[in-house]
């Protein structure tokens, strides 16, 4: 057996080396996603639309909040819905008066910038000032993917517990808006808003907090004022 390469042919030349070479790369692993995110960002800028990437766990009230916002903004708001299956959420938003396009991820646990890029082909944004991308219900996977949004908005609802912020630091270190939903349940639950907010501040010094109930409408006005300011700032 050849001692150099282990093959069975004795006494032959070895024009190849078995030396390991290290080649420097120095790239972001999500570079491809980020390129699409930059394209999306340029598109949003051209359209003059403020874009939110809405992330939370399943059942925290993302679609209920979108229904409340759709009642206010109507056709001035558009929604891209990311769900593993069904167009149920998009139907709810459309019934509430805004336009919506559903992405069915068919198993994927997050949206990426490429999926959003294609969804934009199906959504007419004329006259639209606010686009909310409702990500797949998940506090982990969506956080790493830039979709080209202006800000990430996270919802944490009272039944989930006030200890969730540090359990999902990748998300809460990146949020621009923290919504604490189902505040109408405060009398029945021992969720400490102070704990949640101060733990979020330990990861991130630049976010705003809104306490609201998407179901009763309490506090939704403050969020709308905040969104209006962000929309105006684009013009």
């Amino acid at each position: 057996m050849c001692n150099d390469c282990g093959c069975l042919e004795p006494g032959h030349d070895h024009p190849h080396s078995h030396e390991t070479t290290t080649l420097a790369v120095h790239q972001d692993v999500l570079a491809k996603n980020n390129t699409f995110a930059e394209r999306n960002r340029g598109f949003f800028k051209a359209k003059g639309v403020f874009v939110v990437n809405l992330i939370s766990s399943p059942g925290s009230g993302k679609t209920a909040l979108l229904e409340a916002l759709a009642h206010h903004y109507g056709p001035a708001m558009a929604v891209i819905e990311g769900d593993i299956q069904t167009s149920r959420d998009a139907d709810r938003v459309i019934r509430s008066g805004s336009r919506a396009y559903q992405i069915e991820t068919l198993g994927a646990c997050h949206l990426d910038a490429h999926a959003v890029h294609h969804a934009l082909d199906h959504l007419d944004l004329s006259g639209c000032r606010l686009l909310i991308i409702e990500n797949v219900g998940n506090l982990v996977c969506p956080s790493a993917y830039d979709l080209g949004e202006h800000e990430k908005m996270a919802i944490l609802s009272l039944p989930e517990g006030d200890d969730k912020i540090l359990k999902y630091p990748a998300l809460f270190s990146r949020v621009g808006t923290l919504i604490i939903n189902k505040i109408d349940l405060q009398p029945y639950l021992d969720f400490s808003v102070d704990t949640a907010v101060s733990e979020c501040r330990s990861l991130n010094r630049s976010f705003e907090t809104f306490l609201l109930s998407a179901r009763t409408g309490e506090g939704v006005d403050s969020l709308i004022r905040h969104l209006d300011l962000r929309i105006q700032a684009l013009r």
């Binding site: 080396s17 390991t20 070479t21 290290t22 972001d28 101060s198 733990e199 330990s202």
Partner: protein, 116 residues
């Protein structure tokens, strides 16, 4: 668990840097605690994803880096891979978090393709 799709895009990205006549031996990445990537899950799925993509010789090498914090109570700077770590001097969690979101492909190892 998005690490399977991460692994496949990582291998695709690494393979694009392999010169002709070489094969991929190692993929070297750095993962921070705020990157949103589970290094353990990535490690777990990497070998089978690499083999599926025709890079069965490739191994993953992960450098885990800490996040950097500045304590707002006492001013100390400290590093930790866990966001639960309080200030080692005053045990405060009032702090500024400076980094830890890195997830980069740093380098690849290659060798000449064998002839058998």
């Amino acid at each position: 668990m998005h690490e399977i799709s991460i692994a496949s895009s990582l291998i695709e990205q690494a393979a694009a840097h392999v010169p002709e006549g070489k094969r991929l031996l190692a993929v070297r990445v750095t993962v921070g605690p705020l990157s949103g990537i589970s290094a353990d899950s990535l490690e777990f799925c990497f070998d089978s994803v690499a083999a599926d993509m025709g890079h069965g010789s490739a191994r993953l090498s992960i450098t885990r880096i800490p996040a950097c914090f500045e304590c707002l109570t006492c001013g100390a700077c400290y590093k930790s891979e866990s966001v639960y770590t309080e200030c080692p001097l005053c045990q405060s969690l009032e702090r500024i978090t400076y980094s830890g979101d890195r997830f980069t492909l740093d380098a690849i190892d290659v060798e000449d393709t064998h002839h058998v």
